[in-house]
């Protein structure tokens, strides 16, 4: 540990057993970015699932809105150590989107407007564990938080919940994404503190 700065607290508070190891609570919603914030007009927005067999399933914005909506309330954990508890979202479960998709793939690569990518095992997107969300706290999701729509996979560190989601590609082999190829952990379970490669 370095030299201690007397009286320095930092922006941290709270001890809560809903917090994974090494995390602290924040009241605000920090914005972390890897590039300029994309602006995607809703008329041109689309979400796609591309299967390993080369089939593509697409949804326009009105089509996404017409699907059954869920309102998950979840805790979110960022690898940079902040967490927010009990955040409220609205969107479509990936189970709904995957209903007519035929696939034997094990891996998924989420890709975003703006070029961001992140990889996950496909099973982590199913069984009520993930959503495409477009509302936060009852309001339309702001562009800086990933609007019009982002992936939400709250049981993994938040970099897996790709902002400005554009589609999900299903793959037979794992394909590490943007941060996973630059030192971050391939899976990213906050409860096992899988922050960096090798953790």
């Amino acid at each position: 540990m370095g030299i201690i700065s007397r009286g320095f607290q930092g922006r941290r508070r709270g001890d809560d057993d809903r917090l994974p190891p090494g995390q602290y609570l924040v009241d605000d919603f920090p914005v972390l970015s890897t590039g300029p914030t994309p602006r995607i007009p809703l008329e041109r927005w689309e979400f796609a699932i591309d299967t390993e067999a080369g089939q593509t399933h697409r949804w326009s914005w009105p089509e996404l809105m017409a699907l059954p909506q869920e309102t998950p309330t979840v805790d979110i954990h960022c690898v940079t150590k902040w967490s927010k508890l009990g955040t409220g979202w609205q969107g479509v479960s990936l189970d709904t989107l995957f209903e007519d998709v035929e696939s034997a793939a094990e891996y998924a690569l989420a890709y975003s407007y703006g070029g961001y990518t992140t990889n996950l095992p496909l099973e982590d997107l199913l069984d009520g564990k993930a959503w495409i969300v477009h509302k936060f706290d009852g309001e339309e999701l702001e562009p800086r938080h990933g609007g019009p729509a982002r992936l939400l996979v709250p049981h993994l560190y938040l970099w897996k919940s790709a902002k400005w989601i554009h589609g999900i590609r299903l793959l037979d082999e794992d394909w590490p994404g943007f941060w996973e190829t630059a030192g971050y952990h391939n899976y990213g379970d906050p409860w096992r503190e899988q922050r960096y490669e090798g953790d």
């Binding site: 370095g2 030299i3 201690i4 700065s5 007397r6 009286g7 320095f8 607290q9 930092g10 922006r11």
Partner: protein, 241 residues
């Protein structure tokens, strides 16, 4: 070989520049010296090991083991309120630097210089002004300093004193002093056309401040015909503005 590591730095003196900005003077044993315009990274560590780091420009030319910073308090910030409100002489931080070899002014340089500061962006530009004075350089300098109101001026006394070859102009964005010829407002093409150097003089332009300010100013300088390679920028990040 000069790979940098963190060095302990002890605060030796404090000076308030404005109601919200403070100059901090640190003693850093074995400090290797620095160039005007360079910055350092400052790291704070809490007693439980939590740490945070931020960048700060060096405010004055090299002087032995002394490193001088000027920090603006950002409301609700994590690091700047500690530096400007909590720290007292004798307290320690860690410093890594000096770093940055691009946004620097060297006393042997002979081109005229245009400095454009927005708010706390004055800090590295002041280091250049001080380095010029210290070196006895005759290179003509112009400073355009954009700030909210007269009370937010850093180094007010020092900038008021005559310094041969240095012209200083102010742009007030919120409230100008009584009788000030220019209405309060953001920097415009005319400010740079009148208060800067003609592009034909081929000045070195240094622009520093909040990201939005730097962006706008660099665009205006390009529009006035300054070559991109002579416009050097240092963005400090977003502002609450």
């Amino acid at each position: 070989m000069r790979r940098l590591t963190w060095r302990p730095a002890r605060l030796t003196a404090l000076r308030d520049e404005t109601g919200s900005a403070r100059t901090l003077v640190f003693r850093v044993p074995d400090w290797p010296g620095h160039l005007a315009g360079q910055h350092v990274d400052v790291r704070l560590t809490a007693d439980d090991g939590y740490s945070a780091q931020r960048s700060y420009s060096v405010a004055a030319p090299a002087d032995g083991d002394t490193v001088e910073l000027t920090v603006e308090r950002v409301p609700d910030g994590e690091v700047s309120p500690y530096l400007t409100e909590v720290m007292e002489p004798g307290d320690q931080v860690e410093i890594r630097g000096p770093v940055g070899g691009w946004f620097v002014w060297r006393p042997e340089s002979t081109s005229p210089v245009l400095l454009v500061a927005g708010g706390s962006g004055i800090v590295p530009l002041m280091a250049m002004i001080r380095a010029r004075r210290r070196a006895g350089s005759r290179v003509p300098f112009r400073l355009l300093y954009s700030l909210r109101e007269p009370g937010s001026r850093y180094y007010a006394e020092e900038l008021r004193r005559p310094d041969a070859g240095l012209d200083v102009g102010y742009i007030y964005t919120r409230a100008a002093p009584d009788g000030w010829p220019r209405p309060a407002g953001r920097i415009l093409l005319d400010d740079l056309a009148e208060g800067g150097w003609p592009a034909g003089f081929e000045p070195e332009c240094y622009v520093c401040g909040p990201t939005g300010f730097v962006e706008a100013t660099a665009d205006l300088l390009l529009a006035l015909g300054h070559a991109p390679e002579r416009i050097r920028t240092e963005r400090f990040g977003p502002t609450g503005d």
